[in-house]
Structure formats: structure tokens, C-alpha cells
Symmetry: C2
Subunit: 200 residues, 2 copies
């Protein structure tokens, strides 16, 4: 059985790591995370075998957060609005941390928990896009995977700016979403990526 203080410390560590990653990027040291959580360095490695695993754990949590939102939205009466909301939540998650998510994605692709979360994310995105397409809210040639990949786009756009401009990503998400509408659609020059390329 797990001791009470152990689960409390694990929680403290996850929170501290999340905050620290968000503020200072993903090259923060374990020492720093530990001290922010108010525990010793060794405690970190008791809970997470390696730094990469800690990162994967946090990243996986983020993905599940988005998956849950997606599953809820899949029941919405307005599929077009639901897809936009899904993308808004996804972009917002990435915008919270300066550049955590995409690096985390690159680093922890091999981790099993991340893999399955990604798979579930792709599933729910497929559903949302399919429904939105049936409702005529998005163009025919866009896939769920497209939407997942585009999630990083808007949050990334803001990164070259110096000052913090909270919510500016909403501007670029709106533009990206307008590009998904049928009205402006032009034939796409490249076919959509396959699921295998995403799941890796």
C-alpha cells in the first residue's frame, strides 16, 4: 500500500513540475522542481524513474484533459461549434506553457501512456471532424489528424512575440479555423498524413 505522505508528495511534485515547465521551458533542472515542491531531490526519482518520465506523465495528463473535453463535445448539438471549442481548448492548453507541449511531444513519444493518449485524441478528433463535416461546417478534405496537428499552430504563432499578450492565440486560431471552412477551400497540394505516421 502507498503511504499518505507519498501520494501528497507526488501531487506536489507534479504541480511544481507543471508550473516550472510552464514558466521556464522544459530545461528546468530536477533540483529546481524538487525545491519548488518543497521536497528533496531524491524524492523526485522515487516517484519518477527519470526526468523524461516525469515529463511524459505531465504531458499525458494534458492530453487526457483534451480527450475528455473532446468526448463531451462529441455529443454537442452543434458540431461546428463543438469542433471550434475543441480546438480552442486544445490551443489554450498549449498556450498555457510557453513551449512545453511540442517539445514534450517530441521527447516522450516512446512512452506507452503518451502513445495511448495520443491514439485516443486522434479518435475523438476524428469523430468531431466527421460530425462537423456532415453538418457542412468544415471542408471535405480535412481530417481529424489535421485538426490535431493544427492545434499547435495557433499557439506557436504567438511565440515570436516578446511581451505576454494573453489570448492573442485566439486571433490566430480564428484564422486557422476560417481556413477549415468550406467557403474558402481550395484543393490541397498534399494528401493528409496517415494515422500510422502520428501514432508512430
Amino acid at each position: 500500500m502507498t503511504r499518505a505522505d507519498a501520494v501528497r508528495n507526488r501531487r506536489l511534485l507534479m504541480d511544481a513540475a507543471t508550473a516550472e515547465f510552464a514558466e521556464n521551458g522544459m530545461d528546468v533542472s530536477i533540483t529546481r522542481i524538487a525545491s519548488r515542491a518543497g521536497v528533496g531531490k531524491g524524492t523526485v526519482f522515487r516517484h519518477f524513474d527519470t526526468k523524461e518520465q516525469l515529463l511524459a506523465e505531465i504531458f499525458s495528463d494534458r492530453l487526457e484533459e483534451l480527450v475528455a473535453a473532446g468526448e463531451r463535445l462529441a455529443e454537442s448539438a452543434d458540431p461546428g461549434a463543438a469542433l471550434l471549442e475543441f480546438m480552442t481548448i486544445g490551443t489554450e492548453i498549449q498556450a498555457r506553457d510557453r513551449s512545453f507541449c511540442q517539445a514534450a511531444a517530441a521527447l516522450s513519444r516512446c512512452e506507452a501512456t503518451v502513445r495511448t493518449s495520443r491514439e485516443r485524441l486522434a479518435d475523438v478528433a476524428d469523430v468531431l471532424v466527421e460530425r462537423a463535416r456532415a453538418a457542412g461546417a468544415v471542408r471535405d478534405d480535412v481530417t481529424g489528424l489535421d485538426v490535431v496537428l493544427l492545434l499547435s499552430a495557433a499557439s506557436q504563432a504567438v511565440l515570436s512575440l516578446s511581451g505576454e499578450t494573453p489570448g492573442l492565440w485566439r486571433r490566430y486560431l480564428a484564422m486557422v479555423f476560417d481556413g477549415l471552412r468550406p467557403e474558402a477551400a481550395r484543393p490541397l497540394p498534399v494528401p493528409a498524413p496517415t494515422r500510422a505516421e502520428f501514432t508512430g
Copy 2:
């Protein structure tokens, strides 16, 4: 006056660093760059005071490359196509290196040469967008700065994919560009960022 072998070595170093950054991200060691260039480690620091400065130099070169293309395209007879071409070149430059540009942008913002290059880039983007807008090729509420920021978007989208899928960014650039067209335009929720926020 500068010796001949010195300028040759400087060239070798820039090339090696560029290649290495592109292949392995921006946390490659100076030692590695030096050995790839076939020179000693000390030589690197003779030409560039610090690692960050070397990075800024390369990044500035990239920016100037894009600025030059933009200035050429500003004379094009078809402003809409010119803007698309400009964005294609800009995205392609960023897609060449896995994730070099945005990190470089964050790191070397204070460097003077980068600052002026960014300014020139914003200038030429303004011209291109203004012409495209006058021709009715893009929506009214998009600015040159918007376009510059969106350059990272498409190249970023592809980053979560495992395998190399060369040219896939073209798909997402096309979608983003479709979002800039007047046909699908919806009112944007957030005003455009100011020039000062970019020049920083």
C-alpha cells in the same frame, strides 16, 4: 585586415553550425560544431563571442534570406500569389530545421542584428499584405505582422509527427492561407498585435 584562412574558417563554422542545428536541434555542443567544421574548439570562440551570438548570426541570415525574397516578390504583378509565395518560402525555411527558428527567435531577441532583420521582415510583410489586400486576395483584417507570426504555424504543425514527411507542411500552409482569404472571413475575436510587441 583579416586573414584568408580566418574567413574560410568562419564560413566553415557557419555551415557546420547550420547543418548541426538543423539535424539535432539547438542544444548541440560547441565541441560538436567545431569538430564538424574540422577546426578546434577555440576557433569557434575567436569568431563568435558566445554560443548565443553564433546562433543569432545564423538566425539573422535566415531572416535576411526571407526579407530578400519578400522584396523581390513585392514587385510581382499578382499580389495574392506573391503573398502565398512569400509565406511558402518563409515556412520552408523553418521546416528545413526541425525546431531551430522559434527557439532561436526566443534566445536571440536582444541581439542587434536580429532586431533589425526582424524589423525589415515586418516592413516587407506589410507591403505584401497591403498589396494583396488591395487586390482582394486576402481579408481586410489581416496585417503584415499576422502573416509573419503565421509563418511558424504550418511548419510547427508537422512537428508532432514521428516520421519525416517532407512537404507535408505545404498542406497546412495551404489551409492557413485559405483562412486568410476573404471568402471565409469571420470577425476576429482579438485585435492585431502592435509592431512594438514584435520588435520588442
